[in-house]
Amino acid sequence: MAETATQVERLDPLDPIPVLAGRPGDREVNDQLFLPVWQQTRRGWLALFAITSSLAGLLVLAISYTVATGIGVWGNNIPVGWAFDIINFVWWIGIGHAGTLISAILLLFQQRWRTSINRFAEAMTLFAVMQALIFPALHTGRPWFDFWLFPYPSTLGLWPNFKSPLMWDVFAVNTYFLVSLMFWYVGLLPDLAALRDTSKKRGARIAYGIFALGWRGSARHWRHYRIAYLLLAGISTPLVLSVHSVVSFDFAVSLLPGWHTTIFPPYFVAGAIFSGFAMVLTLVIPARKVFGFEGVITAKHLENMAKVMLATGLMVSYGYAVEHFNAWYSGDHFESFLFFHTRQAGPYAPVYWLMIFCNVVVPNVFWWKKARQSIWALWIASILVNVGMWTERFVIIVISLHRDFLPSSWAMYYPTLVDWSIYVGTLGMFGTLFLLFLRFVPSVSASEVKELRRELDHEAHARAAH
């Protein structure tokens, strides 16, 4: 695999862009990649942090208000029992998929363009999943009893119902969070040690020293470390695929038109990767500019991500097509009414068409190399895709619920100020965490870049030998 990859890289004159610009020495790599950590806090960073952290404050307020008053402060009702709460949950979880996918799957396939972006992506995954976890916990009527969803021996003598997809969620999402956390942290160990050893100040040395757990780059460490990291990657791959499948079961297992769909698991996974990569791009493009990482995160990375978005975007479009086909082919009145009337012509039709534009039309610009290589095209498209994936969840959840079987119970859903505050608040919390990450942790793995450089040198020699 690696071999073929090299050959492709050597023989392909159409693809001259390198995955690593120049051949920096180990020390240079460290200096360059650790610069954001050691340099003075930038003014721009402070400004951004002020904004995001105040939004995070808004989140805290909105949550407190909700818990104190009751989720009646949201727009949810009967029939629309789920709305922003679950939309945002699925949206964040979806975004949280690119990280582990990039790290795990690309590692297994030894895609070396992974190296420079995997930590970005993993961090994004963690923070996104943290936002996602807020919603299932908060959306219940009595959040203080959420622990009833865990199988513990209670005085009621009663156990949870493992036939409920919500129970599957509990296990899937928590597993995903914990495994992603371990994966990320293990991957971080060598750099933490390096931070410890390059630190000038005693405080930083102690802090990083604690997190480095006493890593000494010992051969004994490396021996267990490499296999453990590989295994985690291998194990995370099916996990990533399973998590969003399970999330999709929340809908697929029900009998509601628009939910009761067999295509959901693959189509949710594709959508997750789609939105995940979009979010990575949205974050990486400004970050590499600000920290001058263009040499490490090269245009090649961006272009490859664009390709992945194109591919997954097409899968998503296919998912839509299959949904509608089944609705028509099944001849089921309720299904076809939803898919061919309510969605296109119902009161929420604009949301549906926005979804079609963002998820079906926009990705196709990446057929053109120009678009793949234009920073602005990439960035705008990535943002549109994020919007599109949010509207997709709105279409699935609210539009299906607000007009189901009995017209007598049809009703509209209108989000309230609190709904919006919580949504915007999670964006703020996510941004806050991400800024802290950029400030205190090297956002590109130095140790892996060093390894990558050695591989590239190796090949260079091999080529020279010919």
């Binding site: 949870p160 604690i210 757990l213 006493g214 780059g217 010992s218 051969a219 021996r223 267990h224 453990a228």
Partner: protein, 175 residues
């Protein structure tokens, strides 16, 4: 009453050679420290395959099996209810939790195994006494030998001979 002898080498190959040589001379307790994993150093130091995969496998089996049994016992045996006319013990519905638990426990075992085998966390180690050793995680390649105090000088001597720079010695009692 052990002491450590440390030596820094220019690049990986020299380090491996040195390691091999010292082992021939019968020095035990050798170890290499490098910012990136070094090809062939394991053979040089005579390290065996890591047992981490095995630990992970055990975790996976425990997690998966345990989860399925838990669901079966809770829903079908201990408190069986008529839930929507579905059978109390329904394998398809139990698969997701089984799978997720298998993954979770396996990962915990893998990471736990790594920590246990690597002896994490160990915040202080005698080799940290050497200020120069701080390059080990940045761009330095270090060989360390844990030897009886009397043989320490010999080891240091040998290292210098093999081209190690700032060879230094840390005595156990200081540790």
């Amino acid at each position: 009453m052990a002491s450590y002898v440390l030596g820094e080498f220019q690049e990986e190959a020299a380090l491996c050679a040195a390691a091999r040589r010292l082992r021939e001379l019968g020095f035990a307790g050798l170890d290499a420290h490098s910012p990136v994993p070094i090809h062939g150093v394991d053979e040089a130091l005579g390290l065996k395959r890591s047992p981490v995969p095995l630990i992970g496998l055990v975790g996976m089996l425990l997690g998966g099996g345990g989860a399925y049994l838990m669901q079966w016992w809770m829903n079908a045996v201990d408190y069986s209810l008529n839930v929507g006319g579905r059978p109390p013990q329904s394998a398809p519905a139990f698969i997701p939790v089984t799978f997720e638990s298998a993954v979770l426990v396996a990962s915990v075992f893998i990471v736990g195994g790594l920590f246990a085998l690597a002896g994490f966390p160990r915040l202080h180690h005698p080799v940290f006494e050497v200020e120069a050793f701080r390059t080990a995680c940045v761009d330095g390649f270090w060989l360390s030998a844990e030897v009886e105090a009397p043989r320490a000088e010999a080891a240091a001597e040998e290292m210098r001979r093999l081209g190690a720079r700032n060879v230094s010695r840390v005595d156990g009692e200081e540790a």
